[in-house]
């Protein structure tokens, strides 16, 4: 068992990180806004964590204090939140594909900035970020509770007035306005909450990866997070969480399948080297057979309904 955790510790932490990044993209999506800005906030949070822990906090010998990591996450989250409000108010006036384009531009601007600033270490980036834990798996002590908390938060959000306002905006912005909902306010709110989460994950991720540079938070990441929601489902917060975990674990699964000796060599090669082909295939097949994603609210609604109907039927 310890062997398993040593081998897959990295992967499990990544799965939890990506689940939260999927949620960060899902939040504005709740209000029907396709924003691809999450990697930008993730990168910003990461740079904040990296700069703080290498330049501001003088690391004494031994492990880096966990309290400092938490502090960096707080600062990373807050900075991302403030930036999200500043960027979100003008950007969220755009709709549909135009908003997506603007947020891609935002991610690119941050990336080019980080390539050219001294404080971010230019193209080399920042490395030697101190470790608070002696094993990667221990990052789950922070990431795990954060994921559980954000999932609980999302569970509540989908059930309160604000959540109903978000879904109303997603369905029909004009009708939502006619009911007294302020669409701009809720769109910026959802965008900002998503940014805060991405920023916090970024700060933690900088420690986890040990190094941080402009390759973190790129357009590729935008698309990856989007597939989390596409494959997992975008009608409930469970969708992106499950999608992120599955898709993050997929390369490992393929590596395992590629190691099975009984399979023909060509199939094993496909599993081992054709990861991107299989990824693309899954997205295509997913949109055909699960247009709403794997996880939809109907999964549990149907069960509830059959439960509610059964007693009545027995009277017949």
């Amino acid at each position: 068992m310890t062997d398993f955790f040593n081998t897959y510790g990295n992967l499990m932490v990544l799965m939890v990180f990506n689940a939260m990044l999927g949620l960060s993209l899902y939040l504005p999506l709740m209000a029907g806004q396709l924003s691809l800005a999450s990697p930008g906030f993730y990168a910003l949070g990461g740079y904040i964590g990296a700069v703080f822990s290498t330049k501001v906090f003088q690391s004494s010998d031994g492990a880096f204090p966990v309290s400092y990591v938490l502090l960096e996450m707080l600062v990373g989250g807050l900075a991302s939140g403030v930036l999200a409000i500043v960027v979100g108010i003008p950007a969220l006036r755009l709709r549909g594909i135009y908003l997506a384009l603007a947020t891609i531009a935002f991610v690119e601007i941050l990336r080019v900035l980080s390539l050219n600033l001294t404080i971010t270490g230019g193209a080399i980036g920042i490395f030697g970020i101190p470790q608070p834990f002696n094993r990667p798996l221990k990052y789950l002590y922070i990431a795990g509770p954060l994921l559980l908390f954000s999932m609980f938060f999302m569970y509540r959000l989908e059930r309160i007035r604000a959540g109903r306002a978000l879904t109303a905006i997603r369905e029909d912005e004009l009708a939502a306005g006619a009911m007294g909902i302020n669409p701009t306010y809720y769109k910026v709110l959802a965008f900002t909450l998503g940014a805060i989460l991405a920023g916090m994950v970024g700060a933690l991720s900088a420690h986890f990866l040990n190094t941080w540079n402009a390759r973190q938070g790129t357009f590729d990441a935008s698309i990856t997070y989007l597939t989390f929601a596409l494959i997992g489902g975008s009608r409930t917060f469970v969708g992106p969480v499950v999608g992120a975990m599955l898709l993050t674990a997929l390369p490992e699964l393929l590596r395992f399948l590629g190691g099975i000796d009984q399979l023909p060599q060509s199939v094993r090669d496909l599993f081992l080297n054709g990861r991107l082909i299989i990824f693309g295939l899954l997205i295509v097949l997913g949109t055909i057979f699960f247009p709403q994603g794997i996880i939809t609210p109907r999964l549990w609604e149907r069960r509830r309904r059959t439960k509610a109907v059964r007693p009545a039927e027995s009277n017949l």
């Binding site: 109303a168 004009l174 006619a178 007294g180």
Partner: protein, 240 residues
Amino acid sequence: MTTEPVPILELHGITVNYGGIRAIENIDLVVNTGEVVTLIGANGAGKSTTLRAISRLVNPLSGKIIYAGKDITRARTDEVVKWGIAQSPEGRRVLARQSVLDNLRLGAYTRSDRAEIERDLQQQFALFPRLAERRHQQAGTLSGGEQQMLAIARAVMSRPRLLLLDEPSLGLAPLIVIEIFSIIRNLHAAGVTILLVEQNARLALQNADRGYVLEAGAITFSGPADQLLGDERVKQAYLG
């Protein structure tokens, strides 16, 4: 003995442009508390634009909108809903994926008096038995007439002082139209002030206190509804 009419809504010289095209020009219109006022006219005459200016979905180029003594010309849509102007938008715009119940609850979005909201909900169900039967059904699965009823009921859920109805008879079977208008009469009897935009001029005038005729973006006739019903020019143009 007549009581002095109390205006709840006044439009003074409202002009709206879409791009460079003038949609309505210099509209003056008054709705008094307790009245049903109808705005009739042909397709593209600017009826919906006028309503959208009031519900603050479009910005007037010039003019003033006064509601309950307050200038709302530059207010936001969600603000005017909070102040008591509710609308049943053109094309109904019910939230298709949500249940009838959730649609109605969202109608009361600006209110926080839970017990009263529940009471109003029951009242809507009493008024619209068909909605009560289908309360857990997705709104998109309702028939056109039922969706229109839902759109009206949803607007009423905000307890409006002024109800804007945009083409409630649009695309509905004649029998359903009659039902919708009897609902409008009931609402009026219950004391709701209504501004009704309609293409069906005869039915609208028959159910209104006063009427305005809109033609190519300007008001050409106005007066008591029965007087407009008897007017030769209105008859020729709109009543056939």
